[in-house]
Symmetry: C2
Subunit: 339 residues, 2 copies
């Protein structure tokens, strides 16, 4: 069967390329730790900070080493006093041209702060500035599962090296099986995601709710996809925060997307689901528990929930532009006017 | 002159009470440090996490000690491995009955993790659970400037004790002058805030943008005031993030509130202002630089910007319910139905 913007073999090949980065990343991390690493900093803007958010969750469950999430635009102002030459700064820019990522890399280079970063091609301006440059294409153009994969390799290697991940080999074995599991999800949900895309094509506002390690995808899908690429208004809100304000706006005809994962915070999102279903007739729950994910051990399903969710969202995005008749590529302002 | 929901003497008296907490707080912090403090955790939900956000900024500029911001509902799931008996956890609940704050206090008590917390009265259930309980009423019912004041006392005492604040006495001298400065702002802006309230009374959607230490107030005013108390849709977004999606929704008739402070990130917000003014005819900039704040040294204006902004927002809120005819006290669901 053929799928819009998706071909199983191409997708799996892309992910195989990502997995091939493992020895290079481990070597980088060994080198960084030889020089000393006191804390891990993840600095990004927009899509790139959002793909890093599940990694913060992944790391802080396992290590007492401080993990700092920094908006790259604020990071270069030097506000965080804990950032030193013994920090390791993770940067990410698919195009390798994101202004804020380049500025952050320059900032670090000038101060001798080591950086490890990913961009899609060797010629990207970001590459020259990084202490530990990684070149790798996207796993999937329409979702962030490939980005998660690359970051999992970096962060798990850091945790392992820091003595916080005895199960590193087991984790990597599971990570290797993730692409097949994600491809299965994409194929399984495609038809349903298409139907949902047509169902919401005329909505002008959505609430998006998620918690724990799904928050990054919740925030990103609202801002980078629905707002930027579809010009649809959104409010993204963390599940426990929903009850401190946004709930009052929910009415019978309010569209609300609830992203339910398998980490420790699952019941916080279930609480939103139970409430929302009493009020609105337009509640959409995407529950990663519905996906089989063959070969993935129960132990890691919670960690991989963000990638499972992205597998769904990638399919939804592919169909949404057809349903709304609004191409994902149109911009009013971004790279159209100077600001 | 008389002001709705505000009387200068009452306001200043409330703040004098807050300042009287200083010796008690210092004693608490001395005691906590005698037992050892490795990191500072601020845990809250909704309004309470938002008032803590400027404190994270205030602290991380001055100390390399890790500061963790935790959603209280997620905090009790024990996700952050860095939280130990040598953490100091800050909790806050004006009513002293917020479920999540109480659960967090219990969680800490059972594990011997020290807590310092504030609530409005001695009988509040939160009080019994805290290692270091503080009782103090609100500074202002309609804004968060009083909350900031209490938290400044706690966080500056921690920084001082940790050897990160040589200018502690000078800071406290300035903090003592803050209430008069805030009262002046409230009185000065009242008429203009009223006019703005009437100007926006029929708007059904606002973008709210702020950066750095103003982000907490931006987030809170959108969710706790406009959404919860006025049932108006909002999108709150950090200034550098605005350019990674939300900008595409801005049109000539889109209402956007831009909160401009005096910390290091000011120019990130100026960039949004410059862009927004090219597109929309409904741009409102609240710039704390416009306020005199007599007696406050230039050195601390950036730190106090969130309180300056709150002084304005308190007046706006007071008039907004008259302008919209929607009382601040009506709720559809909160404490009306069980969920």
């Amino acid at each position: 069967m053929a799928y819009k913007n998706y071909d199983r073999e191409t997708y799996l090949n892309n992910f195989r390329e990502i997995m091939r980065l493992k020895p290079q990343i481990e070597k980088y991390i060994d080198d960084a730790f030889e020089k000393g690493v006191d804390n891990l900093v993840m600095a990004g803007v927009g899509g790139s900070i959002s793909i890093m958010m599940p990694m913060e969750y992944f790391a802080k469950k396992r290590t007492a080493m401080p993990i700092y999430m920094e908006n790259a635009a604020e990071f270069v102002l030097g506000i965080n006093k804990a950032v030193t030459k013994k920090s390791l700064v993770v940067l990410y820019s698919e195009s390798g041209t994101t202004k804020e990522a380049i500025a952050a890399a320059k900032y670090c280079k000038e101060r001798g702060i080591p950086t490890i970063g990913v961009s899609g091609n060797e010629e990207a301006p970001l590459q020259d500035l990084l202490t530990y440059p990684i070149v790798c294409g996207a796993g999937d153009e329409l979702s962030c599962d490939g980005d998660h994969m690359k970051l999992f390799l970096i962060v798990s290697a850091v945790l392992h090296k820091n003595g916080d991940m005895e199960d590193y080999d087991e984790f990597i074995e599971n990570l290797e099986k993730l692409p097949e599991a994600l491809a299965d999800i994409k194929e399984k949900v495609d038809e349903e995601a298409k139907a949902y895309a047509y169902q919401i094509k005329d909505e002008t506002y959505h609430m998006l709710v998620g918690s724990g390690n799904l928050w990054g995808s919740t925030y990103c899908f609202a801002m980078c996809y629905l707002e930027e690429m579809q010009w649809i208004r959104t409010k993204s809100i963390q599940s426990p925060e929903f009850f401190h304000g946004t709930l009052e706006l929910l009415e019978e005809d309010t569209s609300i997307m609830i992203f339910k994962g398998e980490d420790e915070t699952r019941m916080l999102t279930e609480r939103v689901e139970n409430f929302a279903k009493k009020i609105s007739k337009k509640v959409k729950v995407i529950d990663t528990k519905d996906y089989e994910a063959k070969g993935i051990s129960q132990k890691y399903r919670g960690d991989f929930s963000p990638a499972f969710l992205e597998a769904y969202l990638g399919r939804l995005t592919a169909h949404l532009e057809d349903a709304t008749g609004h191409s994902l590529d149109i911009r009013r302002y971004y790279r159209v006017m100077d600001y």
